[in-house]
């Protein structure tokens, strides 16, 4: 039994210290994951908190197979989808929204982050899970419920796209 499964077992037995240990261990990773999927840091912190609350509610449906991180990221992913749906504004004119000064500011100030956020949702999720969550490709495939090869190809496509933009950005800065 790995460390996570041992913690889950202790939590099921009512050990609150084990719960604290689990939260302390996973909070930074889940926050990073949520941060890239919701609109702002506040929402990311709220989503992270909700993720752990839902984990407690549904801990009994976790079967100990040494895949706890995948289980937790799956919960986080669902929580983020819900936050995204709730917070997403419906612009009356998408072109006007695109040309707003706020967006220009974000693009100029933090262009790399902006490009990461602008990746297609499925590619972004793979990149975030790989680099923010530090998951292996197999674990990413489990979280996203896709074949390993699909996860690999999505990551490759995303990195190719980011690399091109990153190199262009580097050249223009020089």
């Amino acid at each position: 039994m790995n460390r996570d499964d041992a913690l889950v077992r202790r939590i099921r037995a009512g050990d609150s210290a084990a719960l604290d240990e689990l939260i302390a261990c996973y909070y930074p990773r889940i926050l990073r994951f949520c941060y890239w999927h919701v609109a702002n840091r506040n929402d990311a912190e709220d989503a992270t908190q909700d993720t752990f609350l839902k984990l407690i509610l549904h801990l009994d449906s976790y079967e100990q197979r040494g895949k706890f991180s995948s289980f937790l990221y799956k919960i986080a992913s669902n929580v983020c989808v819900d936050y995204f749906r709730r917070s997403r504004p419906e612009p009356a004119n998408p072109e006007a929204a695109r040309n707003s000064p706020d967006i220009d500011k974000i693009e100029s100030n933090d262009s790399f982050a902006w490009r990461l956020r602008n990746l297609p949702e499925e590619q972004k999720s793979v990149v975030i899970l790989r680099f923010a969550g530090e998951l292996k490709i197999r674990e990413i495939a489990e979280v996203m419920d896709i074949p390993i090869r699909t996860a690999q190809s999505r990551l490759r496509a995303a990195l190719r796209r980011l690399k091109l933009e990153y190199l262009n950005e580097d050249r223009s800065e020089k």
Binding site: S16, A24, R32, L53, H58, S61, E63, N78, V81
Partner: protein, 258 residues
């Protein structure tokens, strides 16, 4: 700076220690609240499932099936012994009965996909695997009781060997389960009952046609080839149940519904 390093640095979000503390505090409270729910044993859960499975309706259905499939042939055996002793008459009857039994089992297995039943099942805090096992245990007990009675009754009225009777029952039963579980797995949510009913009728007709046009099929049931086919079908059923478990698990209970 390499892209990988840039990504790793970009993805760093320093957590706020106060929010971590707050999350821990709220999580502890949630854990205490969830811990107050009385734990239920697995046997208690099976008893609850049996009650929910409407035993009165099951008993009535079983009596009707026994009346038509066992007492009918018994009546014929008394008045028309030549017909009743003929396996060509008994085998299709037993096969159709086993298809009917299989279809009602498939219907119970697919129950989770209807009327938000999966949410109710998840609220029991019992894992999907254990819930499936509970259903299989209930169906297994029922099937053993019915098929046992049918084998004894048919053995009394006809000259068929037990192995042949068991083959007549098991092959259509396993085939119906395989196809039923596959159809149910791929069917859109809510359309299972109609598909299962249609499949039951179609398989019953196919079996009657098979016995009409190829009466020698009966020899297959007591042969080694028949046993091998049954084993293969059983394996397929286990795979289908595994896939059903995976599908039920993927119906993530933690997803919010708008």
């Amino acid at each position: 700076m390499s892209l990988n390093r840039a990504l790793r640095e970009e993805c760093r979000v320093p957590p706020n220690p106060e929010r971590i503390e707050e999350t821990m505090r709220i999580a502890r409270m949630a854990m205490q609240r969830s811990g107050k729910r009385a734990p239920r044993s697995y046997s208690y859960f099976i008893i609850i499932q049996l009650k929910r499975a409407m035993p009165a309706s099951w008993i009535l259905q079983t009596l009707l099936v026994l009346a038509s499939a066992v007492f009918g042939p018994l009546f014929i055996a008394v008045h028309y012994p030549a017909v009743a002793n003929d396996p060509r008459f008994v085998a299709p009857l037993v096969g159709c009965l086993s298809i009917y039994i299989a279809m009602s089992g498939v219907y119970l297995m697919m129950r989770s996909f209807r009327c938000n039943m999966s949410e109710i099942e998840m609220s029991t805090m019992v894992s999907t695997r254990r819930q499936l096992l509970a259903k299989l245990a209930i169906l297994g007990m029922r099937d053993i009781a019915i098929f046992g009675a049918v084998i004894v009754a048919v053995k009394q009225t006809s000259q068929m060997r037990v192995a042949t009777i068991a083959g007549c029952i098991m092959m259509p039963f396993l085939l119906a389960n395989c196809i039923g579980l596959t159809l149910g797995h791929n069917a859109p949510s809510g359309s299972h009952p109609m598909r299962i009913a249609t499949l039951g009728i179609a398989l019953g007709l196919a079996l009657l046609l098979a016995y009409s046009f190829a009466p020698n099929i009966l020899n297959l049931f007591s042969s080694r080839a028949g046993g091998a086919i049954c084993a293969a079908l059983l394996l397929l059923c286990v795979i289908r149940i595994g896939k059903l478990n995976a599908k039920l698990s993927s119906m993530n209970p933690v997803a919010e519904v708008d």
